[in-house]
């Protein structure tokens, strides 16, 4: 092969690399946690559930993973494996920087929880590090979402509310795919970084379709039917409230 041809191939390779990099942009997802529309304030604020029982919230955390974007022609783009733990007590954790190919999108979806593969893959790091208190040691698997607090209606010690929702197997799989359609198209470009604000309403956990009365159920910390019912409820937790270009 002539040196010129080699040079040409080298140049093409460079272009290909450049192109690959150019295509990536950022989509920002900002989660705002609320209870029945009111801003969530840990520990001090009191809320009322659908059954009319008062309660406070001391912890609220959930996993967001396996994000898929939907192009304008409805084709889907599965994004790289990234796991986010949204933790109300850590404000920075509520803003997710999502690497995405440049383009225009009309909708997206994500898992509320951690896919089954990562539940059976041994020691993990980052958001999935068991040090985050979102992994069951005695019955291996991630707690997909967690709410802790108190309620005068709770019969548990210290009037505690403990809702640790998980389970990745079989009929009581608590991992939920959440699909959200954007009110306007999302354009990821060199100079455009859409910021989607998503409201997560904790009220939904205890309302429909499986209403929870704290007087009867104040503690869930195993996978199974009760946890799965909450996951049915929390699959209605998210709404897009605004889209802006940053």
């Amino acid at each position: 092969m002539k040196p010129k041809a080699l040079l040409y191939i080298f140049f093409m390779l460079l272009m290909a690399c450049k192109k690959e990099k150019q295509e990536q942009g950022t989509l920002q997802l900002t989660f705002t946690n609320v209870v029945n529309g009111a801003a969530l304030t840990l520990n001090t604020a009191s809320y009322t559930n659908a059954a009319g029982e008062a309660f406070t919230v001391s912890a609220f955390r959930y996993y967001i993973s396996n994000i898929t974007l939907v192009r304008m022609d409805n084709s889907e783009v599965k994004l790289a494996d990234t796991y986010f733990l949204v933790d109300e007590s850590k404000p920075a954790s509520r803003t997710l920087q999502v690497m995405a190919p440049r383009g225009e999108y009309r909708a997206f979806s994500f898992l509320l929880g951690v896919d089954s593969v990562r539940n059976v893959s041994g020691a993990q790091t980052g958001a999935l590090d068991p040090v985050n208190g979102m992994f069951w040691s005695w019955n291996s698997g991630y707690i997909m979402a967690k709410m802790e607090g108190t309620s005068p209606a709770s019969a548990a010690a210290g009037q505690a509310l403990t809702f640790h929702i998980g389970g990745f197997r079989g009929e009581y799989n608590a991992v939920r795919r959440i699909s959200l359609v954007s009110p306007i198209s999302l354009t990821v470009a060199a100079d455009r970084k859409p910021d989607v604000t998503i409201k997560a309403d904790l009220y939904t956990w205890f309302s429909l379709p499986n209403q929870v009365q704290f007087a009867q159920t104040a503690t869930i910390h195993v996978p199974g039917e009760d946890a799965w019912k909450i996951s049915e409820n929390y699959s209605n937790m998210f709404r897009i409230t605004s889209v802006t270009d940053l």
Binding site: S121, G122, A123
Partner: protein, 340 residues
């Protein structure tokens, strides 16, 4: 002159760089199946195994620095807790199941008597954080390790520069546990037809009894099929242990427990998930005439397993050939004194 200086300088630089971790060659028996644990994701190194061993024997992994993994997992008992029916922990606490022996773990697909733990790497999380065992918070433990100069150096040597995180902790422990393998018993020598290795007539008879009456569940060469079964033990009303049902929520798994390996069995009394039998002959008697009928009873033991007096004796002699003296005396696995 300048070139010469540069050369010297570059040599110096190379010499001061620490050697990377050296691969650890794990000896595996040809007559065992392929391991379940995927070591390609956590390649064993000399430094990683040594670090795992130190962690295994370090009582500072427990909340009050009194109990190491090796406290309950004693080498002379094939890493079970000799003479202790239930697991012990900090603050004089007692668990509700017996301490299983630790060996051939890389061939196990899940762990604990109820199979609740699904991966070798996350297994240590249970005893470390269980309030009845080591009772420590994982985050506090990671901070303590990061504050320790010697551990930082050992972790760097094993996994490269960086903070100690729980993945590195668990992978180091997994590397050491991956070396805790037992396949040098007299039974193995006989099966491999090594020169001079043969069963005595009583052992040979015992092997026949075993093959006829025990081997369906205690499958060779691991001496367990890894399944969960209700072996007809009378329900213990003090422990309220539902067995595997605790994990699956299925009433079909009520009172089912993991079939344990019989390797090194005579070194690791007491027996059963709650350590109720101190003598292997009590175990024989249970299968012969002690079966309690419950809805989930295993079909293989439902009608009992008749064993004559001589068969029990022969079985005892056969089980004795499953003791692996190389393993329980291995210097590479023995306790190291941690000078804190």
């Amino acid at each position: 002159m300048g070139c010469l200086f540069l050369l010297i300088w570059s040599c110096r630089k190379t010499a001061s760089v620490r050697p990377g971790p050296q691969p650890y060659t794990l000896e595996l028996p040809a007559d065992f199946p392929a391991p379940v644990y995927d070591m390609s994701q956590n390649p064993l190194t000399v430094q990683g195994v040594a670090l795992g061993r130190r962690l295994f024997y370090d009582p500072r992994l427990s909340r009050d620095s009194t109990i190491s993994c090796g406290f309950c997992h004693q080498q002379f008992a094939a890493f079970a807790h000799f003479d202790h029916p239930l697991s012990h922990g900090i603050d004089n606490n007692t668990g509700f199941r017996s301490v299983p022996g630790l060996f051939n773990l890389i061939w196990q697909k899940d762990f604990m008597w109820d199979g609740g733990v699904n991966h070798l790497e996350v297994q240590p999380l249970t005893p470390i954080t269980d309030p009845n065992e080591m009772g420590e918070d994982l985050g506090r433990l990671i901070s303590r390790l990061n504050a320790d100069q010697q551990y930082r150096a050992m972790f760097n040597d094993a996994f490269g520069e960086g903070e100690i995180n729980s993945q590195r902790l668990f992978r180091a422990l997994a590397q050491f546990m991956a070396t805790m393998n037992s396949f040098h018993s007299k039974y193995d020598s006989v099966m491999r037809k090594l020169p001079g290795a043969q069963f005595t007539p009583e052992e040979a008879n015992g092997y026949r009894v075993f093959q006829e009456k025990c081997a369906a569940c205690h499958k060779e060469p691991l001496f367990t099929d890894g399944s969960y079964r209700n072996n007809g033990l009378p329900y213990n009303p003090y422990l309220h242990d539902a067995g595997r049902m605790r994990i699956t929520n299925s009433t079909g798994d009520y009172l089912k427990f993991k079939v344990p390996s019989l390797r090194n069995i005579l070194k690791s009394p007491p027996y059963m998930h709650d350590g109720r039998f101190y003598d292997i002959f009590n175990v024989f008697d249970h299968y012969a005439e002690g079966i309690e009928q419950t809805p989930t009873i295993d079909p293989l033991v439902r009608n009992g397993i008749p064993l004559s007096v001589s068969e029990k004796r022969e079985l005892y002699f056969f089980l004795n050939t499953l003791t692996d003296h190389t393993f329980i005396n291995s210097k590479a696995l023995s306790e190291i004194l941690i000078d804190n």
